[in-house]
Subunit: 430 residues, 2 copies
């Protein structure tokens, strides 16, 4: 075992441990010197604890080590926990030994003050340092909790986790622009989503989900687009759009639940939304927007400002359903008897489209027709289409932008804040 | 709610439900006709149940539908559960209504017999159909259970799940060949592993893991290499190689536990290995192999046949530790006082290298020296190296090939069997 392996996180050091020997490892947050006593505030991922070093009770070597410490040095402290009336947390650690594990130079950016949104570019340039900031540590702990909650919810509905290829032969889905990959002698592409694969898997595994990277080669320059993102995809046989909307509601509610405490630690108070979410049709949305002076032509997408206006009016997460069929991808099932509209939905939170989904077409002829209606050549989809002859079940599903959800939950203005190392039009490093 | 939404999986239909109305949806496995009674064996992901259709108790429409059914048709059955002494599972369903949801043509490959390994190419060509095979459904359920168990184990050790970019600017790690990506005006690459990112994250999140795709553009043509695979990566601050080996042991044991029941359903009896795993040094391995007539020069990698021989001798999962330093990547920490050997390990199961790991160098000067010793130019790593000046903790970690582990657990001969849609030198479709 490493001598610096911690026995406890700093947050676990409580007065109840009085008298116990512990090993803590972390970073020097602050060091104060009052002559023959020095106070080290030792930080790790989970919190902070005071280490009280008395000249009289440590070796010359440890005293010497402590005397030369400065901010962000990496140290390991072996010592005895002491309940204390003086220390802020009611507890301190009296070291037996303090080891300097790595000396730190002054940091290139501030990590002690509040997040400065205007300094985002600089912070991303030094992202590894920026991530030491307490609010970032908590944000990314929350993100981990959110995906954990999503999976638990989906397992509960009988979904199986799958991994589909991210290198694909052709631009099968149509629509988005793709990044080309040199795959040995051929040109391949990075998948924009696992859409066709997850649909195909409903024919065997019935209910599948995937949480993995997706790529769009679009030249966006907004606060809510990036070129590599994490897509949460679910697809289920023998369900329609209403059924998967209901699954999605639980996924969203559990995501909020999983992050509400952590986010409150960084001053973000979120309210867990209650089910069922409000549902409006696309036609409703257009009427509501019309009254707000925002004109959207039937058949056009609701623009960002329209989504924002609707969120202001509705005040909580809501679904827009029944989009014009031709506004959606070819695999979207039209409503029977009202074919110009579709069994589709978007989930909107705080003016942000977080999820899109629908019942999918499972009939081969209909699917071919839908491709042709969009100017796509069914011949390019032959290995996908053939599958519909061998027992394709009715199915439905959705794709959720993980970072978009995190962005609205955390209330940050730029999606890059919730991505460890974002990839955008101009950013490929670090 | 969709009319075909199932209330139960077929496996949930037990005699205790006698008299209850249920909706089941799935595929026709078999249909037998004894005049005025027809028996449908209805299959879904979880199992199979007998549907007994009596001419006298169904509508003309349902009788007509059932009369025209053939294998693999997609159907939905609403009916009453009846405990039955005659039916194999002690239970059957008497339908009120049977709907044909999608007609199936004869399948292009056999899914009823045992897996034919020699037909792998053909089976992969029709992978969506091949996945309907019961053994495949169970295999991929097991894979989902395995990643679930891995995450649960890692959460238990305080690891946070992270997502790092798969598009990277340069071939930072050295070694493996990379796939180039056209990233707008620049050439970027697909990441061969999250190695440098996960190391960087130990400076803030301390313990991180990632389960995501990784890419090697190597022209392998073996049964245990593919060009896109799922890498399970863990990295922890304030741990050394021994500490992360211990975490890994738990991850492996829990992976076996999670899949043992499922695998036994497809005739694969696995024994959950017990901790601690056997540990031999690289030098031990060479002596053992020498006695077996397999000569490996000190400093060379142990060849596949050597790993297989060692597995035969040892008979259970084992670690090889202390590899020659120069055999490992630049970030591998040499042993203090025996610098030609390193604090490194491989986990070998059934002759397969499943995991590699090590203590990493956390000192900037040492890291630069290690790069130079391997002919790498530290200037190409400047944004990675600079981080080591700002409080880089000692750390260690490993990378595990998910499909390799699944391959040895499931006892399949070709890694492609455990991948939904494998990507290799010649395979980019489906």
């Amino acid at each position: 075992m490493a001598i610096y392996r911690k026995t406890h996180w700093t947050s676990e050091i409580k007065p109840e441990l009085d008298g116990k020997e512990v090993t803590l490892s972390g970073w020097v947050w602050e060091i104060r010197d009052v002559g023959r006593i020095k106070f080290i505030m030792l930080r790790d991922r989970e919190g902070m604890v005071q280490v009280t070093v008395k000249r009289s009770s440590v070796s010359d070597e440890t005293w010497d080590t402590v005397s030369r410490l400065s901010k962000e040095d990496v140290v390991s402290v072996r010592g005895i926990v002491r309940a204390s009336k003086v220390a802020k947390t009611g507890v301190e650690v009296e070291p037996i030994e303090v080891r300097l594990l790595n000396k730190a130079n002054p940091l290139p950016i501030d990590i002690w003050g509040n997040v400065d949104e205007t300094m985002l570019d600089l912070r991303l340039r030094y992202r590894t340092v920026d991530l030491k900031r307490r609010s970032n540590v908590i944000l990314f702990k929350a993100l981990s909790e959110v995906v954990k909650a999503m999976r638990t919810t989906l397992y509960g509905y009988g979904f199986i986790e799958v991994f589909t290829p991210k290198i694909i032969a052709t631009s099968t889905e149509g629509g988005a622009e793709l990044f080309p990959v040199q795959y040995f002698e051929r040109t391949a592409y990075l998948a924009q989503s696992p859409q066709l694969y997850k649909e195909e898997l409903t024919a065997s595994l019935e209910r599948v989900f995937e949480i993995g990277p997706a790529y769009r080669a679009e030249k966006h320059d907004t606060t809510y687009h990036v070129n590599e993102f994490i897509s949460v995809d679910a697809e289920a046989a023998f369900m329609n759009y209403r059924d998967v909307m209901s699954v999605l509601e639980d996924v969203i509610v559990e995501s909020y639940r999983a992050s509400v405490d952590l986010l409150s630690q960084i001053g973000r108070e979120v309210r867990v939304p209650s089910k069922p979410f409000k549902v409006i049709t696309y036609d409703d949305a257009l009427s509501m927007l019309d009254k707000e002076g925002i004109k959207v032509k039937w058949g056009d997408d609701v623009p960002k400002e329209g989504l924002e206006a609707l969120s202001r009016l509705i005040g909580e997460p809501f679904f827009i359903i029944h989009f014009p069929t031709m506004l959606r991808a070819f695999y979207t099932k039209p409503i029977e008897g009202d074919e110009s509209r579709s069994e589709s939905f978007d989930l909107v939170i705080d003016g942000m489209e977080v999820t899109s989904g629908s019942t999918r077409i499972h009939d081969k002829d209909e699917l071919e027709k839908a491709m042709r209606a969009r100017g796509l050549n069914p011949g390019n989809f032959s290995t996908h289409l053939e599958i519909y002859s061998w027992g394709m079940p009715p199915h439905a599903g959705w794709g959720l932008g993980l970072y978009r959800l995190m962005m609205v939950m955390a209330g940050v203005r730029n999606i890059r804040e919730v991505i460890l190392f974002p990839r955008d039009r101009y950013r490929l490093v670090p």
